[in-house]
Amino acid sequence: MATEFGHQTASGHLTVPAESKEPYAADVLAQLYADAELVVARYPQKRSALLPLLHLVQSVDGYITGRGIDFCAEVLDLTRAEVSGVATFYTQYKRHPNGEYTVGVCTNTLCAIMGGDQIWESVSEHLGIGHDETTPDGKITLERIECNAACDYAPVVMTNWEFFDNQTPESTKQLVDDLREGKPVAPTRGPSRVCTFKQVSRVLAGFHDGLADEGVGAGAASLVGLNVAHERGWTAPDTDVHVTGEHQAQATAGGMAAGRHPSTDTPANEPDELPGGDDADKNGK
């Protein structure tokens, strides 16, 4: 067990345990086929099922195993190279055995500056492991993660992709200690307990675990604007009035910065790049 999580060097990432290639037990395989059929049925073309199927493999093996790659390739009529190529592109797919809990400290700029860097350093030192490494008891894999869309709750820590908001070095050390001791741990916004990595991987494959109705709808920061509006008696404009005819639609892309495409995107279609040639839309202006 210890050695399984012990290959923490660069070459260790290439050294997968022998079980990675062992065939699945018959009952496990039968269940995998049954689940895969449901996943494939969600899409008009079966290759679309690949990302959820890789999550499904992690729900059984705890990481992307050689046999899991074989399984996906077989179900989807792909080569193993095609499946591996996809599996190695995405950071949530783990290439070596993952701990029962992935603890991800957001160290993107906003969180880092709000204290994420201090959290990272103290918890990494506390556990004695670095990025993408696992404690010898197999409980915790530590990660530095990118912005998790919760900057208003910075600094943020994700545990098995559940939100732990407004963390401190102390609270995060307590969190990992509790996880290692098997104490129940609840996210700030999420279900009443953190599930295991394998359980969460099954949800990500699209199999609902029935916990959607647990937890809050919105955390405190999500409600600050609404609260200000309540206090000051502000509402959206009168929603009963329907004025007609007055307004001229301004359907132009005029707001884009000139001379360069906007940073977060290029427009889907420029008005002069209409597929059909003619501007089907001119009467819209």
Partner: protein
């Protein structure tokens, strides 16, 4: 003075805000009823008239995008909702889907009807498992209530909705990379044209829209295009969610008409966390939009005004940093992000972001030389406009804008032989010691 306008955020404080029942109590699914009695073309026209522009960053007119689909040819057409929200600082779609997922599902139903789509997809980033549960549940509830499925409410309209979880890759927010990813491939952008409207998912006509864009459709239909267009500014109409984070007293979500200013928003957010410490720099729309400083407190936050002031409205992700913050450290970390997330498809971005990170890293540590600033600008110049997608362009924004406004601070790192800032002063924990 601009007031807040809670529309999408209106019932987020309901203890069961995410359920179909709560949504129905708040006029939920009434717009869809109305839609089914209309011609699809009239819905597209209404969306054009409302002036709604994409809330995912670029601000492309939503109704116009729908109008670009070629005429029906009997084959499938798709709606794909971009719920990948990963642009640093952006944190509006995730709370929206956590608190009120039914808004999105109803928007999906109306949009699908408008564009003739019978199978819609929601592509959610994989790192938010509880949001995925809420979406799965919302879709389940809608099916059970007969709002999705076959021959919906006897209208003859069929709609299937699939909620799909990604697996961790910022680039999958770029719409064509998203489509490749949804097809089970590595998420790398496609050459455009053809645009998704012509050859999108499975090479079929496809509309890709942001979560907030689609969630805005039900209220527009319910209250009218003019109601929406009367909010905001002349060319940036309607409302949007503004996300404040960082050194403000009350970070969080503020739903307001476009054109509100940061000064107004800061007033609503209780000001800076410590009134003694000045605002130093901020992003108007995520890390890919050039930085603003305290000179820009009164720039109306609409597409045109932010553009004229040298940045972009982007996703209205206002990351706010006070004078305790080292701008070089901030930029170095964002640069590391772009380097990490570069998909590797094109050389300017793949190689350029790697070199940018080498240089910002040594500057933050007080190594390197003043010439490195020119080198940075030179590399940015070689990426901007030459990268295959907008990720590469975005990577240059923090660097060029920070050198523009804070060149001396880079130099100070060199003369000081390291970062002159005390990073603990910037942290949230320091905030606890600040007098209220």
């Amino acid at each position: 003075m601009t007031n807040l306008t809670p529309i999408l955020t209106k019932f987020w404080d309901d203890p069961q805000s995410w359920t179909l029942e709560t949504y129905r109590r708040n006029d939920g699914w009434k717009a869809f009823d109305k839609a089914l009695k209309m011609e699809p073309a009239a819905l597209v026209q209404m969306t054009k008239d409302s002036g709604l522009r994409g809330r995912g960053g670029a601000g492309f007119p939503t109704g116009m995008k729908w109008g670009f689909l070629p005429p029906p040819d009997g084959g499938p057409r798709y709606l794909v909702v971009n719920a990948d929200e990963s642009e640093p600082g952006t944190c509006k779609d995730i709370p929206l889907m956590m608190a009120a997922p039914q808004f999105l599902i109803e928007g999906v139903a109306i949009t699908s009807y408008a564009i003739g789509c019978n199978h819609a997809f929601i592509y959610l980033r994989g790192e938010v498992v509880h949001v995925y549960r809420r979406l799965l549940r919302a879709v389940e509830e809608a099916y059970a209530a007969g709002l999705l499925g076959k021959n919906i409410m006897g209208s003859g309209f069929d709609l299937e909705v699939t909620v799909h979880a990604g697996a961790g890759a910022y680039i999958c927010g770029e719409e064509t990379a998203l489509l490749d990813s949804l097809e089970g491939r590595r998420g790398q952008p496609r050459l455009k044209p053809p645009f998704p409207a012509v050859a999108g998912l499975y090479a079929r006509p496809t509309v890709v829209n942001n979560v907030e864009s689609i969630a805005s459709v039900p209220p527009i239909l319910l209250h009218g295009a003019d109601w929406f267009a009367d909010m905001g500014t002349e060319k940036s109409q309607g409302f949007g969610i503004f996300s404040l984070s960082g050194h403000v007293k009350n970070p969080g979500q503020y739903e307001a008409p476009l054109g509100i200013t940061l000064r107004e928003l800061l007033d609503m957010a209780g000001g800076m966390r410590d009134p003694q410490k000045k605002l130093k720099f901020w992003t108007p729309g995520g890390s890919s939009t050039p930085l603003f400083t305290d000179e820009h407190l009164d720039v109306p936050l609409d597409f045109e005004s932010v553009g004229a002031a040298g940045s972009m409205l982007g996703t209205r992700a206002l990351q706010i940093f006070d004078e305790t913050t080292c701008v070089v450290r901030a930029v170095d970390r964002w640069t590391e992000f772009y380097k990490h997330e570069s998909c590797g498809k094109c050389t300017p971005c793949r190689e350029g972001t790697w070199w940018l990170k080498q240089i910002t890293g040594r500057l933050e540590n007080g190594q390197g030389s003043e010439e490195d600033l020119e080198k940075l600008l030179d590399i940015c110049d070689n990426i901007l406009g030459r990268a295959f997608c907008a990720l590469g362009d975005g990577a240059t924004s923090p660097i060029t804008s920070s050198i523009q406004y804070f060149r001396e601070e880079y130099i100070a790192h060199l003369t000081n032989g390291g970062c002159p800032f005390d990073r603990d002063a910037s942290s949230l924990f320091a905030k606890d010691n600040v007098p209220a």
